[in-house]
């Protein structure tokens, strides 16, 4: 932490707070409250997915006297999921482009990349819906066996996270289009970008641990 003499006290509206979110005022960390909030939330979310992934790893091959039906791993279509994973990863690239363009005040490009990111995320979700449907048709329901419960819960929670991200991206697109968000609030897009990248990274872990490792 900076010593007292180094602190700029010329603007003592100390601690940028929710009610003045259009002004960049000094905070102790140098990061805005909103950004620290997102980092803290993502830290918490790591543990959520950590617990869900551990649960899946523990339960995926378990059998009991009443076990029947295929396990999730029996039905994986690796090429298909690889493609949808690639689509989701590419959406991180477009998200970066959206953040960069609003920081350069290129609002039209920002809108384009926001919408592209949301569209790529939607393709991923559509792929997940297709995957769930085909698994169900092949006899793997949520209650079929222990690995199916664990699989649908883990990937379902990730899907909900992606869907919330899409809602946020579309909302941002509306607000940027309506002019409520200009280059001075580029950080809002940046923070949503943090969330989006996090959700992508979690998918890399899930894809590697759940789909690829036998």
């Amino acid at each position: 932490m900076a010593d007292i003499d180094e602190i700029d006290t010329s603007n003592l509206a100390y601690g940028r707070t929710e009610w003045d979110d259009h002004h960049h005022l000094p905070t102790n960390t140098g990061l805005t409250n909103e950004k620290v909030t997102m980092w803290a939330f993502l830290g918490s979310d790591c543990l959520l997915f950590g617990a869900l992934i551990s649960t899946y790893l523990l339960l995926r091959n378990r059998v009991g006297p009443a076990t029947s039906g295929p396990t999730a791993a029996d039905l994986f279509d690796i090429p298909f999921t690889s493609v949808s994973s690639f689509v989701l990863l590419m959406s991180s690239l477009t998200m970066v482009l959206a953040v960069t363009s609003i920081q350069r005040a290129e609002m039209d490009r920002c809108k384009l990349w926001l919408l592209t990111t949301a569209a790529l995320g939607s393709i991923f979700i559509a792929g997940q819906v297709y995957e769930f449907t085909s698994f169900y048709r092949e006899g793997l329901g949520f209650t079929t066996n222990i690995s199916s419960s664990a699989f649908y819960t883990l990937t379902g929670f990730h899907g909900v996270h992606v869907s919330l991200g899409i809602v946020m991206l579309v909302t941002m697109w509306v607000l940027v289009s309506g002019g409520q968000i200009g280059p001075e609030r580029a950080e809002t897009i940046e923070i949503i970008g943090l969330y989006w990248h996090f959700v992508d990274i979690v998918w890399i872990v899930i894809f590697a641990v759940v789909y690829l490792i036998p």
Binding site: M1, D3, I4, I7, T9, L12, A13, Y14, G15, R16, T17, E18, W19, D20, D21, H22, H23, L25, T27, N28, T29, L31, T32, N33, V36, T37, A40, F41, G43, S44, D45, L47, L48, G50, A51, L52, T55, L58, L59, R62, V63, G64, P65, A66, T67, F142, T143, N145, I146, S148, S149, A150, T153, Q180
Partner: protein, 670 residues
């Protein structure tokens, strides 16, 4: 104004952007009456409400405890049936942990932390209100189960598959799983908010290692909450999915592993233990130096050991599971980590004793409660270290010895510290002190009753009396000590009645003028919350305090003279801020309470009828929409309340410069 004589700038907040103010309804105005409390976003009112609601649940959890003790007063007790007994002890534990100690700590965290770091409010005032109302509705939801077919009956740790539909067919465990989920969201929201507040909004000069120890401990607790809550969230989700949607997570016929729940629960549950105790450690780290008139012995060691407890608390969870068949390697590893974690705790105890050693002790009520924390917690800590020896723990598991242990740390530790905090900060929150004489009665009756209740449990526990059993036989030989324990429980009740009488009488006396109005600094204290008037003005600080030391306020009052002896150079009440500014404050809002009301509806719907969930969801989404369209500060508020000359824009530093200069002569602090 010694705190601020160098830089008497106004702490002024920018108003919201008017171009974006499209709230759906007119905003509430915080004039007076119940609206001033229900729609407030003021961290002080929120803190007081946390405390009041937690004390209500304390009464409720206490009644449950007394029912347990009435049942066990004699062998073959007939007060409760076995089913009722299961529900009562489950809800006693759940209530005391989640609805009493955690929110009481949240009450102090909300009220005190922004004051100790010199901030105007927390980082996100509406989120703060949301946390409060989620806790309130979560508690109500949990206890609705009593009226809808019986309470949860699986113990507060709710071991699955024992808590699955097969073995717990009533709706009680659904209320448990969903109610804790709601309370968990409340804690998560509060944790993130306080983390951001402490990391970002400290007064200039207050580096992390100049922060008061209470604020430090609260920060550690919020990080523990941040990382522990998602784990129990997952556990509760799995349980709910099993119970509601027929998933198979704990279905042994499908190959489920009962240890899954135990691991998930205790990975949350052991950090939770430190979540419960560290706030009280922080409180006594404030009170002991004040009433010993000495600085805290080894400030940085106390802070670092608190953080070390926070880290090491993640590596000891399986000591709750020594008898579950972990295997020798796991048991040995967790034995060792459990022994190690006693080290930083012991360091704290020694530091507190060294703080008191040679000090000029003042035996006020908060001091007495603080000393009782140090001594009673040490007893509980010692029996805790006994449990780290796995063979001994195997003998003691599920006996009353364990019950004695965790009541010594949670009642003798956490609650004693929280009572110390109540007596200590009462004048800051309400402007008057609680009666010292009634307070001493409260303390001594409580201390005697506490030891009568939980001391003999060590004995019957080692004799083999099992916990969670609704009956013991006359041939077991437990009847004498159980009668003592039950009498002790009612002595605790008497102590708490004295406390209630104290609150009411002191308040009535204050209204009638017989109990005096307290000045800013009634205890000659050390930290920033005492540098502003009592009770705290709505805007906390007139000016941003500038901090140059640990215990900065103390150093403004006491300076070493030429011989190196400490000399009083200023009176705390004179150099305290006057509380006469009227800055622009965050405006009250309907949305936190509306949003919070959506969640119990969704949860009820999951148990009974999904249409109810739909209504809850609509309420939730509508409130989110209204919330995000509403600027945090009403651009129209604040001006007419105080007249134009006191509006935020009219505040200039000039108004107080004279006063500053005057005091600065008395207290020339560099």
């Amino acid at each position: 104004m010694a705190i601020t004589e160098e830089r008497p700038e106004i702490l002024e907040l920018e108003s919201g952007d008017t171009s974006f103010s499209t709230g759906a309804f007119a905003r509430p105005t915080n004039a007076s009456g119940w609206r001033a409390w229900f729609f407030t976003v003021d961290h002080k009112k929120i803190g007081i409400m946390y405390g009041a609601v937690a004390m209500f649940w304390f009464l409720w959890g206490g009644i449950e405890a007394l029912l347990i003790r009435a049942q066990l007063f004699t062998p073959n007790g007939t007060v409760l049936t076995a089913e009722q007994y299961n529900q009562i002890f489950t809800m006693h534990g759940t209530t005391m942990v989640f609805l009493v100690i955690m929110p009481l700590a949240a009450a102090f965290a909300n009220y005190i932390v922004p004051l100790q770091i010199g901030a105007r409010d927390v980082a996100f005032p509406r989120m703060n209100a949301l946390g409060l109302w989620l806790f309130v509705f979560g508690g109500i939801f949990l206890n609705l189960s009593w009226f809808l077919g019986g309470g949860p009956d699986g113990g507060w740790f709710a071991y699955a598959p024992n808590t699955g539909v097969t073995f717990s067919p009533g709706a009680g465990m659904d209320f448990y799983a969903l109610g804790l989920q709601i309370a968990g969201i409340a804690s998560l929201v509060g944790a993130i908010n306080l983390i951001v507040t402490v990391l970002n909004m400290r007064a200039p000069g207050m580096t992390m290692l100049r922060m008061p120890v209470f604020t430090w401990m609260i920060l550690v607790v919020q990080f523990l909450l941040l990382f522990a809550l998602p784990v129990i969230t997952v556990a509760l989700i799995l349980l709910s999915f099993d119970r509601t949607f027929d998933a198979n997570f704990f279905n042994v016929a499908m190959g489920a592993d009962p240890l899954l729940w135990q691991h998930l629960f205790w990975i949350f549950g052991h950090p939770e233990v430190y979540i419960l105790i560290l706030p009280s450690f922080g409180i006594v780290s404030e009170t002991l130096p004040v009433f010993s008139r000495k600085p805290l012995f080894g400030y940085s060691v106390i802070v670092i050991s608190g953080a070390a407890i926070g880290f090491m608390g993640w590596g000891v969870w399986a000591h709750h599971m020594f008898v579950s068949g972990l295997g020798p390697v796991g048991v040995a590893a967790f034995s060792a980590t459990t022994m190690f974690i006693a080290v930083p705790t012991g360091v704290k105890i020694l530091n507190w004793i060294a703080t008191m050693w040679g000090g000029n002790l003042r035996f006020t009520v908060p001091m007495m409660f603080s000393i009782s924390l140090v001594s009673m917690f040490t007893i509980g800590g010692l029996s805790g270290v006994m449990h780290s020896v796995a063979p001994a723990d195997t003998q003691q598991t599920d006996t009353y010895f364990i019950v004695a242990h965790f009541h010594y740390v949670l009642f003798g530790g956490a609650l004693m510290g929280l009572f110390a905090g109540m007596y200590y900060w009462w004048p800051k929150a309400f402007g008057y002190r609680l009666s010292e004489s009634l307070g001493k009665w409260h303390f001594w009756i409580l201390l005697v009753g506490f030891n009568m209740t939980f001391g003999p449990m060590h004995i019957v526990g080692l004799q083999g009396m099992a916990r969670r059993h609704s009956r013991y036989g006359p041939e077991d030989g437990f009847d004498f000590w159980n009668a003592v324990v039950s009498i002790g429980a009612f002595v605790i009740l008497i102590g708490m009645i004295v406390f209630a009488v104290n609150i009411v009488r002191s308040w009535l006396g204050y209204k009638a003028g017989t109990v005096p109005q307290e000045p800013a600094d009634p205890w000659d204290a050390r930290t920033l919350e005492w540098a502003i008037p009592s009770p705290t003005p709505e805007h906390n600080f007139d000016y941003v305090p500038v901090v140059t030391d640990i215990d900065d306020f103390w150093h403004k009052k006491y300076q070493p003279d030429e011989n190196g002896k400490l000399r009083k150079v200023a009176d705390g009440n004179e150099i305290a801020q006057k509380g006469d500014q009227h800055p622009h404050l965050p405006s009250p809002s309907y949305w936190p309470i509306v949003l919070a009301a959506g969640l119990p509806l969704i949860a009820l719907g999951l148990i009974y009828n999904l249409w109810v969930s739909g209504i809850g969801l609509v309420l939730l989404l509508g409130a989110m929409f209204g919330w995000s369209l509403e600027p945090a500060t009403d651009p129209n508020a604040g001006h007419d309340d105080h007249g134009d000359d006191h509006g935020p824009d009219a505040n200039t530093p000039d108004g107080d410069e004279g006063g500053d200069a005057e005091v600065a002569e008395e207290a020339p602090v560099g």
